[in-house]
Symmetry: C2
DNA sequence: TCAAAAGTGTTCTCTGTACACCCATGT
DNA sequence: ACATGGGTGTACAGAGAACACTTTTGA
């Protein structure tokens, strides 16, 4: 059964992927390309987020999950609705108008933006039909629509959230080293962290559990591996009301 | 010139008002009432948030401001978009369906929810045409649609935000006493705070400025008045990257 | 044996927290 | 004079921040 689209409401997905090897936080973007009928002129040539219209019978979260699955094949990744974008002029740049006319969708569309957190290594781009590509969040290509703004706001939200919630582990493999966590924080926040203080802090958390296992296949001293236990975290967690204004 | 509505997109506003006298954080709600044609039966009798459809040519934020102005006459109050609600069944309770049919709007509407922070004393309910009424956020009446959920999420967001941003002062008069700030935190968070520690903490902030002025017309020792300086706050403000997971 | 990254301790400062009484004022 | 809420100080504990060298391993 074919689902019916809601023509003026879409969901856009900022897919954050962390590459543990290059220590780079990336965003997954798809190519947008359009030539004039005579092929003499390139009308649109840039990148955009993936998104899609909301179906009549699905929740906004379902739309986001569907978009992610279509793009990456992945399900059950960390997902966060962070903002709706609905300025009347958000799709009205000249090249966007050309694109919209070509695709036949509503220039007055509002979009509910989500972000996902996952590992770049979990995505197989070879099999991808959208010419999807990872770009470092700090070095994005030319973007269509208002997607630069959407990514910026997603990134801002992520920066804030990763300080107070253990979402960082969604970007790492199950088994990780302390230094990998530190590298990730440094990538996301763009700061330097003292290794001794950071290490002590993390190791003291009961929900960061040392395994009986070390890295293998590295050409140096193999590091201790740890896992994050959401169960332990939840049991320990208690709201603190520290007012820091 | 009459604006054209977007029929399936609305903005709902959670208007938080703090009553400094009763020390109560309230939400402004409007009455929803409908009788059967014979007037024998009450079909709908509850409260809802104010909201309205988005116009074709306005931003979502403009819609929210318009709704607030219509309801309270106020402009330039603190406003925050916190979430979009778009479940296909969010307006499909029996009484909501009756209401929707009567009002003639789209049962598959998604809403962008905002909250406002202001002082109850700034709102004149006498002149109000919607039978608007304040209800303590902890003691709400029966609510229509999914508005109970929307209020709960707004309140949750407010609780978190007030710990890290100086939005609390939007709920207080320009000149306030330290104890009034404490009472407000206690109301919002539902906790008890040690007065000496709290007082020291606040007074040490450079952007909490003691005036050459005390309370007047109180039948006890009049308290020192302070103001919050957003200018000083902004100058001092620097992001801290304290990881507390 | 060397290169590379892993891992390790101490000191100081600051902030949070617990806790109980006197003070100033208006009535 | 008295009732009411305003205002005050100290001591302890815990966490953050600064800081440099040794260790382990694979190649």
């Amino acid at each position: 059964m074919k689902q019916e689209k809601i023509l003026n409401i879409s969901v856009d997905c900022v897919v954050f992927g962390y590459d543990i090897n290059t220590k780079s936080l990336n965003v997954l973007l798809i190519k947008r390309f359009l030539e004039s009928p005579t092929k003499k002129e390139v009308l649109v040539d840039d990148y955009v987020l993936t998104g899609y219209h909301v179906y009549k019978n699905e929740t906004l979260g379902d739309t986001a999950s569907r978009v992610l699955k279509e793009l990456t094949g992945l399900t059950n990744q960390y997902k966060k609705q962070f903002k709706a974008f609905g300025n009347p002029d958000r799709l009205l740049n000249p090249k966007d108008l050309i694109w919209i006319e070509n695709e036949g969708f509503n220039p007055r569309t509002i979009t509910i933006a989500y972000y996902f957190l996952l590992k770049t290594e979990d995505v197989d781009l070879k099999a991808n039909k959208h010419k999807a590509k990872w770009f470092p969040v700090t070095d994005l290509p030319e973007l269509g629509f208002d997607h630069e703004k959407i990514i910026a706001e997603a990134y801002e939200d992520l920066k804030v959230k990763c300080l107070s919630e253990p979402i960082i582990f969604k970007l790492l493999p199950d088994k990780f080293t302390i230094n990998e966590v530190q590298d990730l924080y440094q990538s996301i926040l763009g700061i330097e962290i003292d290794n001794r203080n950071f290490r002590r802090k993390l190791i003291n958390k009961k929900y960061i559990i040392a395994l009986d296992e070390k890295q293998v296949g590295v050409s140096k001293k193999p590091a201790q591996l740890y896992i994050f236990s959401m169960d332990v975290y939840r049991k320990m967690f208690q709201k603190n009301y520290l007012i820091s204004i």
